[in-house]
Each structure stands twice: as structure tokens, then as C-alpha cells.
Assembly symmetry: C2
Homo-oligomer: 256 residues x 2
């Protein structure tokens, strides 16, 4: 893991400014009502009863972000926090020398801005089209301070995130390339399964470069490893992701 000279293809992750995309479904209001939100019970909102939900609804705005748009930018002051309702968001930190480490991929139900603090410590960029409820940070914080349930739920999500971060430390510190890629696939599958129940194909909306930057590998090693898995009939690589043929073997390789 030598210190890379100033990143090779920076163009790959320069993302444009925050650009909400058209929200046609602003007309179908009930689709955007919190009450009928399909990830409500996975999200921070699980803590709220119907009355509280409509209170919180007054604070938030459902927004749609086009691919590559920026939800949060590392180093700025935090104006907003988010609850993701669809799509996938990449969370990353950049080193002074230009290297990038992806610290996670947020999926529907995930919350961005756990600490409610003033400083954004990582960038958040939409990978594909993303829908998210955006809250003004201070208003959300004030609201949470009056609702012990909500604060407890936020804490629960944060603690869960911490545990997940610790899992990933183990992967980064103690797994070889095969183990890292296997752990990544299994982990993503399990998280998506919690939302969708059946996940046959694991959609890989992120690029190989993203996966590499998440696993502390290079794009070449990720590509090679996936090809090797395919040759060993452990997976099939599809245009939009990966299908597991031998989940058990992959799971053992990636096991923590």
C-alpha cells in the first residue's frame, strides 16, 4: 500500500454541485408522504408515531438527486442532514495527497449526519439517482432534543454504524484481496436483503474504482478478483452487478 502520487484518474470522482433533479412525483403526493414511506421502519423515522411523523414532515423536504451530485462536501459546515429513501450514496474522505478512502455506501433507510455537529467530515455523493429527505440540521437537532424516542433512535443508528465501521476495520486490516471482495459482496447483499427480502443479483451501482477505494485495493485487483471468482463459478458478472452462484463459499471467505 504505497502512498500513491496524486491520484491517477481524479476525473473519475469530481462530482458536480448539488443539483436536485426534477421531482415529477411531486404531484403524486401520497408517494412522498412519510406515512406511506416504504423505508419508514428501517429509517430514523421508525421512532416516530403518526402524530410526530407529521410534525417532522414539516421540517423535511423530499428531494431527488441526479447521479454524481453532492449531498455533503467534506470540510464545509453542516447545514443539513439526510435520510436516504432510494438509490445509493458514496461516503468518502480525501487525504492531503489526493488519495481517497470510501468509508461506506449509504442505502435506503440510512441516515447522513449522525453527529449533528457543525463540521462535515466526509463527502456524500449520489452514485445513481437518489431520493432523500433533507432536514435543516439545527431544526432537526432541536426537534430531536424534545423527542427522547427520536434521540434514542438516532443513537441506535449511530451505534450500529460504529459497529459496522469496526467490522470494516477488521476487513481492511486482516483480509487479503479475496477476503475483502467476498466480505464486500456478502455485506452488501445482506444489507439489501434487509430492505428487499430477496436479492438474487447484487446490483453494483458503484464503479470498480469505488469498490477499490472502499476496500483499500486498486481497481485492477478488484477486477482481477471478480474475474477469478467468476472463473471459479462462485459468481456470475452481469452488466449491472453480480449474481452469487456459491454464496456459502463467498460467505466463508468474507467471514468476520
Amino acid at each position: 500500500m504505497p502512498e500513491k502520487p496524486p491520484a491517477r484518474n481524479d476525473g473519475a470522482h469530481t462530482a458536480q454541485l448539488l443539483t436536485p433533479c426534477p421531482v415529477p412525483s411531486i404531484l403524486h403526493l401520497d408517494e412522498h408522504r412519510c406515512e406511506s414511506c416504504h423505508v419508514r421502519m428501517q429509517s430514523i423515522c421508525a421512532a416516530l408515531d403518526l402524530h410526530e411523523l407529521s410534525e417532522s414532515e414539516l421540517l423535511s423536504r423530499p428531494l431527488c438527486y441526479s447521479p454524481r451530485s453532492v449531498l455533503l462536501r467534506e470540510g464545509e459546515t453542516t447545514e443539513t442532514v439526510f435520510s436516504i429513501t432510494s438509490g445509493m450514496v458514496r461516503l468518502s474522505r480525501t487525504l492531503p495527497d489526493g488519495q481517497r478512502q470510501i468509508i461506506g455506501f449509504a442505502i435506503p433507510g440510512d441516515f447522513l449526519g449522525h453527529d449533528l455537529s457543525e463540521h462535515v467530515v466526509f463527502s456524500a455523493e449520489a452514485i445513481n439517482t437518489v431520493n432523500a429527505c433533507r432536514f435543516p440540521r439545527q431544526a432537526f437537532k432541536d426537534f430531536a432534543n424534545t423527542k427522547p424516542n427520536l434521540m434514542a433512535r438516532l443513537h441506535e443508528l449511530t451505534a450500529h454504524e460504529l459497529s459496522h465501521a469496526q467490522d470494516h476495520m477488521v476487513v481492511l486490516g486482516r483480509k487479503n484481496a479475496d477476503g475483502k471482495v467476498a466480505a464486500f459482496l456478502i455485506n452488501l447483499r445482506d444489507r439489501l436483503a434487509r430492505l428487499d427480502h430477496v436479492v438474487l443479483n447484487i446490483p453494483l451501482a458503484m464503479t470498480r474504482q469505488d469498490i477499490a477505494d472502499y476496500l483499500g485495493l486498486t481497481i485492477e485487483t478488484v477486477s482481477r478478483t471478480l474475474s477469478k471468482f467468476a472463473k471459479q463459478k462462485l459468481i456470475v458478472i452481469t452488466p449491472d452487478g453480480v449474481r452469487l452462484l456459491n454464496e456459502e463459499k463467498i460467505r466463508i471467505m468474507g467471514e468476520l
Copy 2:
């Protein structure tokens, strides 16, 4: 980073059962009064006023743990949570194949059991003599649920821990051996400095094996890297730790 065959020197981290050591200072009561606790404002207790402090004092017991004793054991159910007041605690996870990843070193002011959940996800072992306030988990949880300040403080500590975990991901994923060791030294120095103000010598109470398991390296690489730093007059290796000669260079190597 090949998958190690079942750990080389397991003996190094078999720790004995929870064994509080004699607490002679049980006589000098005021030293153990929360009111005069020297890490109070760094710890979870910073959220409590004097009245609340004496309430919480009824829940907790100040205990002393001898080196290598176990505060929490991975996989068991959580009976207790801790606030560390002196000494250093090693937090680790073990993989099915016996490999170990150290996910952090807790120092005075740190809290163990952030999630307040039923399952212990990492082991916590005293590295040297450790003093800690022990709370029954459920009682602490109930208490926190009645004190929004305390819950907010717990959440603050957890969010801080999460941010720290993300820092460490960057180190594990994107730094070479030199950068990892440098980042470790600087990070430890800064954390100790927050407690002690002046830290000339960085005490390394943990073994080289511990450092290696924290940084995703081997004991040999850690040893070699420290020797190299010493040869380059960046540090001096002392019996009980390390002294920085050229902090600036180390800091740059370890920079995030």
C-alpha cells in the same frame, strides 16, 4: 495480507478472568468521589451536574483491574458498561480463523458499551493497571433515558468514536507501513495530550503485537519501522515507549 493460519502466538493474548485488584484507596474516599474525579469533564459524566452526579454515583462502582484482566468478552451478553478513569484498555475482535484485529485503545475518559445493547461485539482487556467506573447496563440505560443531557452526551461520545473509526479506516486502507505507524504515534500523542497537556514521551503500554494487530501489520514490520524511524532520528525508543524528535515529519507521514 494473506490469511494467517491459526494465530502464531495465541498465548500472547489469552487474558485471565475479570479480576479486580485490591483497591487500597477505598479508604481515601474523596479520591474516588465523582465530584473530584480528574477525568470527569472528559468522560460521559461531563453531562451531569453535581446533583445528578451523586445520583449516578449510586449506580456505579469504582474498580481496579490488574493487567491482562478482562472487562468485556466478545460474544457474551452485556451486563455492564464502563467509564475508564486510568490506564489503557485494548478493544479487539477475533476472526473465526483466530486472527485478531484490535479496533482501538481506550484511555481515561473513554466509555465502553456505547450501544447499550445486549451483545458485546468486542473484547476489552486491561493492558496495564486500569481503574474504571462500572455500571450495570440496564440501570445505566434506564438512568440515561430519564436524563436527556446524559443521552445526548453518550450520543456525542459515540459519534466521536464513529468519526475516529472512520479515520482509522483511512489509515488501514490507504497508508503504507510507515504512514500507519506514524499515524498511530501522532494519534496516541494527541489523545493523551488532551488529558495531560504535555506529552513528551509517548508511553507504549501495549506490546508490539498489539500495535501490529491495530494497524493490520505484523510484529516484525512494526519493529522494523520503529527501528527505521529511530535510525532516521525521528524518534527515540525508550524502555517504556517512544519520544518524538521530529514531530513535524512524523505528523506529515501520518496525516489524514
